[in-house]
Amino acid sequence: MQRFSIVSLARNALTGHKDWPRYWRSPKPKAAYDAVIVGGGGHGLATAYYLAKEHGVRNVAVLEKGWLGGGNTGRNTTIVRSNYLWDESAHLYEHSLKLFEGLSQDLNYNVMPSQRGVLNLAHNLGDVREGIRRVNANRLNGVDAEWLTPAQVKAFCPIVSISPSMRYPVMGATLQRRAGVARHDAVAWGFARAADALGVDIIQNCEVMGFDIRQGRVHGLRTTQGEIATTKVGIVAAGHNSVLCDMAGVRLPIQSHPLQALVSEPIKPIHPCVVMSNAVHVYVSQSDKGELVMGAGIDSFNSYAQRGSFPVIEHQMAAVLELFPIFSRLRMMRTWGGIVDVCPDASPIIGRLPVEGLYLNGGWGTGGFKATPGSGHVFAHTIAQEAPHPLAAPFAFERFTSGALIDEHGAAAVAH
């Protein structure tokens, strides 16, 4: 890996930037690996990176059926925050936010983190009480959080309407100043480049079609590029986790839904932060290119179509105009969908499955981008040590039998 530095930038400028090496090799799969990660999204790549970096497990392959980051990693609205209500979630997401804060240095790759602050608006008394409770819970967990009055909301984000004549007037907001956005593609590419440099084989256009399971233990996988032997498999396939686990005979508490997002035409910088609203249901930020990036909730029905229904888009545009009347003449440029894997308690599953050697990191649903480094970090530990990382332990698959759910539905101020 050629490191990025002022010297290497200057040297490559002299040759017209034509001599930069490829970020990662494209090797043929080997016959066997110590561990195989299924899914080349951010979470899978981060897992491979930390396996190699922190646990010395370098004989690792990441198998991706399409291209790197072509799943939800490249389709999300890039909001990064850690202000979750419950202790287990706050610790896990805060672990991830801390890793995000040093990620560009660690990977020697600019993931363009922007800690511009995330507002979660409150529009009724229930929202206000929930917000203040969450601020207090966050602070007890060492997560930065503030409660803002409507006037303070207006000062922080001048384009938000706080008019009392709104259908759902703004009655206050929670603010996490350390929250914000990061560049989604860069997170995938940065992890891939750094993992490759540590010896990880990243294999694209390689779809996993089945597992070799004997006596309750995994011995390998069947792929479109042949059979691969391994005794440790980490499934990190987002919307397709159920499909993969089905191949291993494991049923999950997960349902796959479309989640849509859209961007406007680019405009000059006008929106200084990220605004999320549970009650009118939309979240909005502005990208570095100037587009407004917007999203809302899932389509209700199960789907693998990577597209959703128009009424969902219509609904979230109505919400945008309620909060930001100033955007009423903007045109929308693109909409798209990703397939998100939703758990009944809106929390991820990180840990072993009932087949020995088979591990799952999934169920991140609508809100896993923010968790990318933390998720990979605790999952790598779980696979390498064959024991859950302390932060991952509460998120084990077994919680659906024990009943110890981590119910972030509604508790965590819009799931994203």
């Binding site: 397709h240 089905d246 508490p253 997960i254 796959s256 209700s300 179509a305 229904s309 128009f310 039998t401």
Partner: protein, 93 residues
């Protein structure tokens, strides 16, 4: 947008309906004799096929009745709808 044929009202827009998830998930007959694993199966574990799926819908803004539907989760094609208690149709090829 889905155009859903309610078995009682005929074709209506998706926005009139609520989704009910997988159909034919039966509550354990004897709760007291049901262990944790079986409860977890009933409460949380679900099929999530990439293909044909039997699912429940409620015509919330219409007749307000529940029914079942066979839909493809990639193409969104609707193969059939049937009333509660009707025999389970075979899945199309």
């Amino acid at each position: 947008m889905l155009l859903i044929p309610c078995p009682w009202c005929g074709e209506r827009d998706e926005t009139e309906f609520r989704y009910g998830g997988q159909a034919h998930v039966a509550r354990p007959l004897d709760p007291n004799a049901t262990g944790d694993a079986a409860w977890a199966e009933y409460l949380f574990m679900r099929d999530n096929p990439k293909g044909w799926f039997r699912e429940r819908w409620n015509h919330a803004a219409g007749c307000r009745r529940w029914f079942n539907m066979v839909r493809h989760t990639i193409t969104h094609e609707i193969a059939s709808v049937y009333k509660p208690g009707d025999p389970k149709p075979e899945l199309p090829e």
